[in-house]
């Protein structure tokens, strides 16, 4: 008598075809995960609707001229977003220009084999500490310490050495685009460093070693092998940092001088979209004034979307010319 062993695996009774019950683990999990994804979408949609509906009186009243009007006058209800758009863009750009080289350099030191490896532990700790400081505390520090230093030391120095550039002309004012840019750079540095470091660590060692074996110097390896490999991730890091810089409210409000101004001089006070929202919303009365402020919020959201789209395009172009991974 031979025992017949079937080579076919039979499903447990409750999963037999024709007897499929609702408590199918796979289906439930798929449902939950899809639900979570849709929920995120729904939340974003609710945000947009909650912005658009109260902003509608302002949108219909000013139309597209809202984006190019320079006047913000609550007394006679003329509202325009241009000075705030300008301020947000300028301050974020300054922040990225300052933070990107420093952040990338720090990430390289943290991720690469280096003679100065002893610096890694304190550097890591320092970065994490910086990340943990609340924005209002950084804002207060900047107000009491950074602003006088900028007004008395840094801005006159820049005016003296680089004064031929229109950016560094004009009377040094402690509260200015430049100071706000420096504060933002300090705030986005931890994000840049942490994310870039992770991406650079992920570059395969074989690539680095192959490059060195072919006679490349350390610098050439980094510039021509490591960074191109990691550029997609670094773009993502820059994008996240930029998102933080664009939206930062309290620290910027304290040091930017709150004057809606469009000028090339970085020493002049300025105004950003989140700052004007934070400053004026509590006392804004009337659907047009409130609508105009919420329309500014809408513009801010649109800028963030635009930056995201730009980054997607950049990443897409990178992927097309990506170095072939082993």
């Amino acid at each position: 008598m031979s025992v017949q062993t079937s080579s076919v695996v039979t499903a447990p009774p409750f999963l037999e075809k024709g007897r499929r019950r609702w408590f199918d683990g796979d289906r439930i999990f798929q449902g939950l995960a899809s639900g979570a994804a849709i929920a995120i979408f729904v939340i974003a949609a609710i945000f947009l609707v909650a912005l658009i509906i109260p902003a509608w009186p302002s949108v219909t009243r000013f139309g597209l001229s809202f984006l190019v009007n320079r006047e913000w006058n609550p007394v006679n209800s003329h509202f325009g977003a241009l000075p705030f758009l300008y301020g947000t863009v300028v301050v974020s750009l300054i922040a990225m220009v300052i933070a990107f080289p420093i952040g990338l350099g720090a990430a390289l030191v943290l991720a690469q084999p280096t003679r100065y490896g002893f610096i890694r532990a304190p550097l890591s700790f320092g970065v994490e500490l910086l990340a943990g400081i609340p924005s209002v505390v950084i804002g207060l520090w900047a107000l009491f310490i950074l602003v006088p230093v900028m007004r008395q030391v840094v801005e006159p120095f820049l005016a003296h050495t680089l004064g031929f550039l229109p950016f560094f002309q004009g009377t040094p004012s402690g509260a200015s685009f430049l100071t706000a840019g420096v504060v933002l750079a300090i705030m986005v540095l931890p994000i840049l460093v942490a994310l870039s470091r992770d991406v650079i660590i992920a570059v395969p060692a074989e690539l680095r070693e192959a490059s060195v074996a072919l006679g490349a110097t350390k610098a050439e390896t980094i510039w021509q092998v490591v960074l191109p490999y990691a550029r997609v991730g670094i773009t993502g890091a820059v994008l996240l940092a930029l998102g933080r810089a664009i939206g930062e409210t309290i620290a910027v409000t304290m040091v930017i001088g709150n004057r809606p101004e469009i000028t090339a001089s970085l020493f002049s006070p300025g105004y950003t979209l989140p700052s004007v929202l934070a400053n004026e919303f509590a006392e804004a009365v009337g659907p047009l004034y409130q609508g105009a402020l919420l329309e500014l919020g809408l513009v801010l959201v649109l800028i963030t979307i635009a930056v995201n789209v730009l980054a997607r395009l950049l990443i897409w172009s990178f992927r097309r010319t990506e170095p072939v991974a082993t």
């Binding site: 006058n73 609550p74 006088p148 304290m254 004057r259 101004e261 004026e280 006392e283």
Partner: protein, 369 residues
């Protein structure tokens, strides 16, 4: 260095003062109003930030006297307070400016609410000039308008020197500092400038938020302006008197409507308020008031509640609270914090107004025996 860091305790000083007056030594006294104890109630209010230190100290004291009444006030700004009262999510609102026509319609018409001035405040012009003592700098209305319009750009401008011949005014730029957030303080200041300068009225106007001429900087809150002025040599800004007194900043002597230079003080505020025996929610400006002691940049802060109260106990507690607040005992908490007392005429008018607050047609205010 020290001057700059003196600015750090500003917020701390105000927190302390607001926490029931620990820093200023106020203790609730048992003498004073003898009206029947209010019924148990929890009252909520929201609105202006300017009277917040006063409300905080006074409400705490009220609760110490009558434990059964708890009052919770959130200083979210005048606009927020009015919105909250319109939506009936709070029992009373507070605002530095009474309801404008649109807000009045939204809330149900001028007869639906009762608005009373509860405290008086005056503003100073604080400046940062080395070697120039407080009160030494004399400013006429034209000079102030010129500085904030940007037509007077330097401290040694001939117009300034003419009025301050004894002073050594430096050849440096003036940095006017204004409020970047909408506030009743700005309203009172711009109301004053609109009254004394036709140029200002035409170019800027008055409001809680205005489009400031492109000079100087904006800072958030009275404390922001005070800090900025303290830190920036050559800066001048308008702040509530309380901030100047608490941080010992230098303030200017202002020329009032009678032509006399006064240093803003609570007494000056009361003198200015005495110039009008009645104020109404539509006609309430007391800036540039006549009187030899009057402080020119002065204004009331208002509280508002529904005339027809939905709940008897809450309504009674509410009217009792505000009756006590405008009485000598309640006003003392404001005086200790450098606000000014309401003049007697206004208090009388307020009591008459409070008497109209009713529940189902019956007046709620039980007057002291």
């Amino acid at each position: 260095m020290t001057k700059r860091f003196l600015a750090i305790p500003i917020a701390a000083a105000f927190l302390l003062a607001a926490c029931g007056g620990g820093a200023t030594g106020v203790s609730p006294t048992a003498t004073g109003a003898t009206f029947p104890a209010p019924p148990a109630a929890t009252l909520t209010g929201a609105g202006a930030t300017f009277p917040y230190p006063f409300y905080s100290a006074a409400f705490y004291a009220f609760n110490q006297k009558w434990n059964q009444v708890k009052v919770n006030y959130q200083s979210i700004g005048s606009g927020g307070g009015i919105k909250a009262l319109t939506q009936k999510t709070v029992d009373f609102g507070a605002s530095d400016v009474p309801l404008n026509p649109k807000e009045t319609t939204d809330i149900g018409g001028a007869d639906a609410v009762v608005q009373i001035p509860v405290i008086l405040g005056t503003e100073s012009l604080a400046y940062n000039l080395d070697g120039i003592q407080t009160g030494a700098l004399k400013l006429t209305p034209d000079l102030i308008a010129g500085i904030f319009l940007g037509t007077i750009k330097k401290w040694n401008d001939p117009a300034l020197v003419a009025k301050n011949s004894g002073l050594n005014l430096p050849n440096s730029a003036i940095t006017p500092v204004h409020r970047s957030d909408g506030s009743g303080t700005t309203y009172i200041f711009t109301d004053y400038l609109s009254t004394v300068s036709a140029d200002w009225k035409a170019k800027v106007g008055k409001g809680k938020s205005v489009s400031w001429p492109a000079v100087g900087q904006g800072a958030k809150g009275n404390e922001g302006v005070a800090t900025t002025v303290k830190q920036t040599p050559g800066a001048i800004g308008y702040v509530e008197l309380a901030y100047v007194m608490q941080t010992q900043m230098s303030q200017a002597s202002l020329q009032n409507a009678d032509g006399i230079f006064v240093i803003p003080s609570p007494e000056g505020a009361t003198a200015a308020a005495k110039s009008r025996t009645t104020v109404t929610p539509t006609d309430f400006s007391i800036v540039n008031a006549p009187g030899k002691d009057s402080a020119p940049i002065t204004g009331y802060s208002w509280a508002m509640m529904y005339k027809d109260q939905p709940d008897k106990d809450k309504g009674t507690a509410l009217t009792d609270l505000f009756y006590w607040l405008i009485s000598d005992e309640g006003q003392q908490y404001g005086v200790d914090l450098h606000y000014a007392k309401l003049p007697a005429d206004i208090v009388k008018a307020n009591i008459a107004t409070l008497k109209t607050v009713s529940f189902q047609g019956k007046g709620l205010l039980a007057l002291p025996t």
